[in-house]
Symmetry: C3
Subunit: 419 residues, 3 copies
């Protein structure tokens, strides 16, 4: 009792009971948080943003993944690259603003100057023996899936990204994200472990009691909800919804919009799930009136009622693509009990503010929903501190995807045990 044993993570992993929440240390301990940064956030593909974050050559976006600061740069050949934001001289941060546009990357400390390709091109007073070629910015693996940007901090990123990209690119193509623009970006710090942020996202059991705005366009049967066996009314509703989905999906697929679900959330490093869901009300968009909020539709789309294409990737992303706009979410761990959630709203790059769309209207549903989710994540985090906390049962009917997230997480820790 008087000696605190080191946390036995291997035993905690082994003890995880399928269908139940994780043990408290996974949500609270500094050791496991450091492990998460190492195993999850430095060895998997992490969603960081979209190509429209750096639309023009010289555009730079800074994003911090744990303690690592990363620069996303569009170079003069229009290629998007990623580098560590660390000068090779004294290690100073080169860029401090989240968004900037530069000719070259110049460290403010001693003016070491790098090309947008990362090459060091100017460093005064370093003497004859200095080899600039050995002091370029350290690159970071970067992949774009139809404009969605993922980085991996490991030397050898998971190879299964290719199959993820192959599955998603035809589905995402109609939205032409590379020709979209970010019209609003919002940072929200949730007072909870990043896994509670993700668990909150992976179920809609909590939606009915907490998300009136989202509920206007989200049909509960669309998001993993299964009625009880003896709930005859619910069974009938669910059947009616399923029939509606089948009819709309057939119509969408006939028009070339792939809509069938694809789910490999577990069993692979780059777990993901996608599906086009039918929206409620007018069925056009996740807005307060369930109609499109941007008159100019995405890409070359002409059909307003395209439902919502959902994408969830492990460990830190979810996104929804509607006919008129897309909304993407990035969860980034700050410490064991705080998580940054970045939300981006995108429309066609040629849409005109005030004519085609109004930002406040466009963003209102998810601004409200994010705040509600932040409150719930905080409640869950507080609970894990108590000696009375013990892993509780996920609903087998409506929390299967949360369980899949927890299962993926435990799998990934196990896969790296002892490495």
């Amino acid at each position: 009792m008087l000696t605190r044993a080191p946390l036995d993570v291997a035993s905690l992993i082994a003890a995880r009971r399928p269908g139940y929440t994780l043990a408290a240390p996974f949500y609270r301990s500094k050791e496991i948080f450091d492990l998460d940064l190492d195993v999850i956030f430095a060895r998997h593909w992490i969603f960081v943003g979209v190509e429209p974050d750096v639309p023009e050559p010289g555009d730079v976006m800074k994003i911090d993944i744990g303690l690592n600061s990363i620069l996303i740069v569009r170079d003069d050949d229009n290629e998007v690259r990623a580098f560590h934001n660390v000068c090779r001289h004294r290690g100073a941060r080169i860029v401090t603003e989240e968004h900037s546009t530069v000719g070259k990357l110049v460290c403010p400390y001693h003016q070491w100057t790098y090309e947008l390709t990362g090459d060091l091109v100017h460093a005064t007073h370093m003497g004859d023996d200095f080899d600039a070629k050995c002091h370029g910015l350290k690159p970071v693996h970067l992949r774009s899936v139809s404009g969605l940007l993922y980085v991996c901090l490991a030397a050898e990123p998971p190879a299964d990204f290719d199959s993820f990209a192959a599955e998603m690119e035809p589905r995402l193509a109609p939205f032409d994200l590379r020709n979209a623009k970010v019209v609003k970006e919002l940072d929200l710090i949730e007072e909870g472990n990043w896994k509670l942020t993700m668990e909150n996202n992976r179920e809609c059991y909590h939606c009915a009691g907490n998300h009136p705005e989202l509920g206007l366009s989200f049909n509960k049967y669309a998001v993993g909800f299964v009625p009880d066996a003896d709930d005859l009314e619910g069974q009938a509703e669910a059947a009616a919804y399923a029939a509606d989905v089948e009819r709309q999906v057939q119509a969408w697929e006939a028009n070339g919009f792939i809509s069938r679900p694809f789910e490999e959330l577990t069993g692979r490093p780059t777990g993901f799930r996608t599906e086009r869901i039918v929206l409620g009300g007018e069925g056009e968009s996740q807005t307060m009136d369930t109609k499109i909020a941007c008159k100019k539709l995405m890409g070359a789309i002409t059909e307003r009622k395209l439902g919502g294409l959902h994408l969830w990737t492990q460990p830190n992303m979810w996104a929804h693509f509607m006919s008129d706009h897309a909304v993407t979410f990035t969860a980034l761990p700050l410490d064991a009990e705080h998580t940054l959630v970045k939300t981006r709203w995108l429309v066609h790059k040629d849409a005109v503010e005030g004519v085609d769309y109004d930002v406040d209207h466009l963003a209102s549903v998810w601004i409200a929903t994010n705040d509600q989710d932040a409150s719930l994540v905080k409640l869950a985090q507080c609970g894990t501190r108590s000696q009375a906390y013990e892993p509780g049962p996920y609903s087998p009917l409506t929390e299967g995807l949360v369980d899949a997230f927890a299962t993926w997480y435990v799998e990934r820790l196990s896969a790296h045990m002892g490495k």
Copy 2:
């Protein structure tokens, strides 16, 4: 030197010198703070409040003991109960407000619903195999001593609570706390370890130099002060005070108010001390004019000049009961260097504000005194950080009760060594 050895708490305990302050790590180290939460605050009876905090069925008070959030609930049968404030589903906090009134306890996350008895009565979508009976709120041991509420987080609470209750109930009965009301509650965060908060409370050596308001009603000879052997004037004053006490105590006891001291601060888990002291000035109450501040007296009391019944319980409580009002104090550890002190002022439930009492007048002495004590605790905490700090001598004449507190604390750690 380059390796930090784990803190050897057993040796620190063994090295404690009677009559001297504790070694610095007891006031500063995170390890010992965690130990205090475990050994002291999760295995002893902790004072949390009074029955008038939850006067009616459905009233709920939330109180945090270390990382544990506890609900004190008055159920529909008028029984006061305590539960862990942790939903059995995903572990969320059920109640976030300090005071609320409810019909049932409903978790905000997924609306799991509990009776005031802790039983789970409603949880949707959990499937056929789910057994609600196994998912009630976890109870916490709760005892009321004439309305003073104590909880114990351990499975097996210390059994010596019974003798404490038996000793105190006849003394407390005249104040009829269950028919009192809390008219002011004040939270103050002291910048010091909880043991420095308690040590500060256990002596009045510092009163003369720091507490002018309290000094009006507190006679220094009443609170453990013994004059030096060669202080003839002090000896005479002390003798005069003792004679006055003897006379008043005889009168009080003749009227059924038990007044003789009882002290078992050490040698038992539930250490405590009680005594009725003679107050200074008019001798009625701890107020700025030393007269009663509430015209309607406590319970069925008719005698204004009842002195002050003091109660001190280990580890975290002190309280004073006068003819017109009572004031209770709860010390709750926040981290190794911060402590919450909750102060409650109570009067008869039928007293009328503005007619019988004025809250500002009632509370003024202890509001001032608490602030003064907080400053002193901070000074003491700062000192323990220095390499020059070493355990110093308690005054054998005026700091015996501080020494008793430190002795009790060390005893309790020792009792749980290796368990």
Copy 3:
């Protein structure tokens, strides 16, 4: 991977590559910060201020070195002394204000009272067995070098302080610091490890790009800058500067102002460097117009154009002495990532504000420069958090003194290994 090995500081020390920045843990880890407090700040001579901080008997200055609070006191015999700011009773801080004037030192908690010599002269109620002689304030080693105050918290301070004092006293004598006064004192918290604060101070490679105000009076060739071998223009400028220095140094030395450099930054506990440098522009002072900012010159100096006498001592001090004023800097570690920089400006004690000098004018260069340096230190600190950080090369031409600092630091840790 799942077990965090304790930091192997010995290996980190052994692995330090000369000419390169330190490994990241030296700038970030709590363990090494604690080691720095112990080995560097509690066993070396630490610059804390100047005799004019306590000009009169009874003047007291409080200064915190890590967790140790120190009192600098001028006693009634005009002797400057240092004590731990810890009462010998319950350990409370005796003095909380940074500057005060007292008759005796009285602890606010229980009024234990100490002479300015540290002797306990008054402590009531401690009984017959109490020996006041054993409870005086704990002294701290203190040395004054021509008015510059250094303390050492160790029982046995480094003996090489004598040779430092012998070298500096003749150089400092003309400024008669003991008859100067502090006209401005400024505290700035830099968001970086104290070693990054010091490294920033030990080079002017960053000056051209960051310090326009300082650049008015600082010639880059004066502060360790060596042009590249093929920089013909730079070589010519440097030669011209060197010739100018040689001419002025000869003139100064002829007038009794020792000006030649002396450098023993490494190889000894009390490493230091001094040199009188030629200033730019009018060459009189580090001001915005490079002329004196105080008409009454320091000591008995009559020559305005005396350049700037620089003094750098390891681990935490730099200072500049001009004909009209002096400016001293004290770096004090707060935690692994925060450092307090205290700046003092001094003029002749008989100089009259508004007549001889204007404080804002006097201080403007270093107020601006300090802010710029704080920004740079923060950038460097942020960089050390990244997995991409690795020790980078110091410029062999302009960062030699930074390398000397890092070398001294590693030497000192090594010297205390296993002690």
